[in-house]
Symmetry: C2
Amino acid sequence: MLIIADNLNIMHPVIARALEKRDPEPIRRLVKRCVDAGAQAFDINSGPLSRQPRETMVFLVETVQSVTHLPLVLDTANPAAMAAGLATCAGPVTINGFSLEPDKLERILPLAGQYGADIIGYVIGAHSRVPIDEHEMMSTAVALFEAYTKAGLAPRQLIIDPVVVPAAWPDGPRHNRNVLSLIHQLPDLLGAPVRTIAGLSNLSSGGGSLQGKMVLEAGYLPMLAAAGLDMVMTNVLHPNTLALAKVCRVLLKEGIFSWADLDSSPN
Amino acid sequence: MLIIADNLNIMHPVIARALEKRDPEPIRRLVKRCVDAGAQAFDINSGPLSRQPRETMVFLVETVQSVTHLPLVLDTANPAAMAAGLATCAGPVTINGFSLEPDKLERILPLAGQYGADIIGYVIGAHSRVPIDEHEMMSTAVALFEAYTKAGLAPRQLIIDPVVVPAAWPDGPRHNRNVLSLIHQLPDLLGAPVRTIAGLSNLSSGGGSLQGKMVLEAGYLPMLAAAGLDMVMTNVLHPNTLALAKVCRVLLKEGIFSWADLDSSPN
């Protein structure tokens, strides 16, 4: 399971202040801390309300690339900012993301072909509806896959996100159980080995103590891993989360166990 | 998921010394600590080498019952000690346990009918072989279920244990992944709603630091819970394990999430 840091978020005060002053140093320090903690890729979330969306994304990509060669995930709903970010990326990059919403299908999805980038597809319906019911979730995932292949793209570039929702939402626990089931069944459902991703931080958003958030993440991450999740988007500065991701890898990998594996690097 | 304390083990120095002196006080204190920590049942393991197996089991049952009315699980391979313990139990009790080994089928299994007790059935072959391969594990579970029903017992009294093995065993990780798969598929496989149990402490036995053991248990417990495990046998004095068991219940239960659920009692 690949660990993608979601720490580079415009909602993070350090990022917000650094962006305002176009000062790369605080961002570089944060990126270094995340690399040291075990990040294997970075999500760059330039936010929906950025005043200069293209310049902001380019500044963030350039700043992160000045510190690390790890793969990047560009996270914006603005097609122009996405394109500018993709053009700036020197290494492997993933578009985050599209869904069945018409503007995403029309303006974000085509960028995957144009830039030869992997792309995250959210299991969200045409009317921005997150399906709760297992059957609706499955049919939405199939429709997403069909819309994707219809655009002429290869399944190996697609990463499906079944959308973890806050546990505190009405029907949140039921939805998140269905997320596990979807991840487990997706290869059979689509008849193609499509990768999956999930945003762990969503689970505890909107409330709870830090300790409560941590234990919630600690409970759900191994469930996601055992269901077969390929990538997780998470706050890599929660130390328990990284240690757990490592132990999940040890528990689920092929080959011989060694106690030393628990202490080695998260790779 | 019901939490069964496996702390009352003759290998535990406090228990060993107390047994030697027939002093119930240290055992009572340990039982109270386990109840306070969140134990919902107690496994009483009188060990294979007890000199007075019947007296030892009766003493342990009486001592535990003098402190708590929680359900008991009697854990001995000695049929006479098991029968004496069962006769002493005032409340709900489970026999731990039988397998396809001939002496267990002949001398332990019949006690379930005689005492109207639930019984744990280990997925272990006739020649004491723990199956590693998924197919062999499934066929052994089916054979176990058939031997059980042939004895005229009701499926609702049976609790199947797919036998978690130490991660450090050769093929340990592969076996333990197959355990998850077996738990998940067991209802379909048997065509009956049989309960399942797993011994979490086995996972880390035979090596590793306490921290390594804790993180290994923390990774595997939510995987077991998501697979549908009904009961877990564990050291309830590992505080993280109990907090995780609680969060698993919150993540997997029906109904509405509340942050307060994470802080309430493990029941």
